[in-house]
């Protein structure tokens, strides 16, 4: 099994930068697959001619595909110890085919929810260093600590 981007919950510290997840460049084929899998059939994401007709250079990625990348990242960070209890994303700049998204995270706060250790993470999806396409937060609750 390939190594996934994870970290033992007990090693998380406030303000700690988490290991990033680097995704392969987004492809037009991927946008078609995501459109089918998600049910979001807006042609802005799959039809270059349509995208040009409304003033774009060509198709752009679904915002929810980028949130899917952050979701992959968060679920990998949760590893076997934690569940994801809350997860949000604010959509910013567009992602186009060819853009490679890097998911980054930082520990915002460590606290407790119903007696269980919890962490709020700050998340960033960027298409180049400093070029954010979206930001978000996630709350992990550690219910299955590895002792």
């Amino acid at each position: 099994m390939k190594a996934i981007t994870t970290i033992p919950f007990s090693e998380m510290k406030v303000d700690m930068e988490l290991p990033p997840l680097e995704k392969s460049p987004v492809t037009k084929e991927q946008l078609v697959l995501y459109a089918e899998a998600s049910g979001d059939l807006n042609p802005l994401h799959t039809d270059d001619d349509f995208a040009k007709s409304i003033g774009m250079d060509g198709v752009i990625a679904h915002g929810m595909l980028i949130m899917g990348f952050l979701g992959q990242y968060v679920q990998e960070l949760a590893g076997t110890e934690s569940i994801v209890s809350k997860f949000n994303m604010r959509f910013g700049a567009m992602t186009k085919p060819g853009d490679a998204i890097t998911c980054r995270g930082k520990v915002n706060t460590l606290f407790e929810i119903e007696g269980k250790p919890a962490a709020e993470l700050e998340l960033i999806a960027e298409k180049a260093p400093g070029k954010q396409v979206g930001t978000g937060t996630a709350v992990l609750i550690c219910t299955n600590a590895n002792d």
């Binding site: 697959l33 049910g39 990348f69 992959q72 679920q75 076997t80 110890e81 997860f87 949000n88």
Partner: protein
């Protein structure tokens, strides 16, 4: 049509969403998310989820069949923010009873005039009535373009 506070509380007709393992795998593959938590029973059993569950954003794919008694102009709608609140893990084969509801309407001043925001919560309940998750969609409703106003 512009938005106003009286829309808060308007709900869709309830609809049912089935969690189909094949759709879950297609969704994970489209993202390139190969976490064994979505497919490997043995791996998943030892995680905090105690069994197979779905990718964190999978629930978004269940909403497209909502019948909503609001006439919104899709050309003015932008997906501003998405949130998921997970209460109980969603399992393969689950049947979820879903209802989408307007939970907030508010204004913000933006560069191109007043922007309106619409918050839509989709509650997803398991067959025994327990709340599995809430998907919260914040839509930015842009000012109507001039040519639309003239219609």
């Amino acid at each position: 049509m512009d938005l106003d506070k009286s829309m808060i509380g308007i709900a869709s007709e309830p609809y049912v969403a089935q969690i189909d393992p094949e759709r879950v795998m297609k969704f994970a593959q489209a993202i390139g998310d190969d976490n064994p938590l979505y497919s490997d029973e043995t791996y998943a059993a030892d995680t905090a989820y105690q069994g197979i569950t779905v990718p964190p954003t999978f629930l978004i794919s269940l909403g497209s069949s909502a019948k909503f008694p609001l006439e919104l102009d899709f050309r003015r709608m932008l997906h501003g923010e998405q949130e998921f609140i997970y209460h109980h893990p969603v399992r393969m084969g689950d049947t979820l009873d879903c209802t989408m509801k307007v939970t907030d309407v508010y204004d913000r001043e933006g560069k191109s005039g007043t922007m309106q925001f619409l918050v839509l919560d989709t509650e997803m309940k398991k067959e025994d009535g327990t709340l599995a998750a809430v998907a919260r969609n914040t839509i930015i409703y842009r000012p109507a373009p001039k040519e639309v106003r003239q219609l």
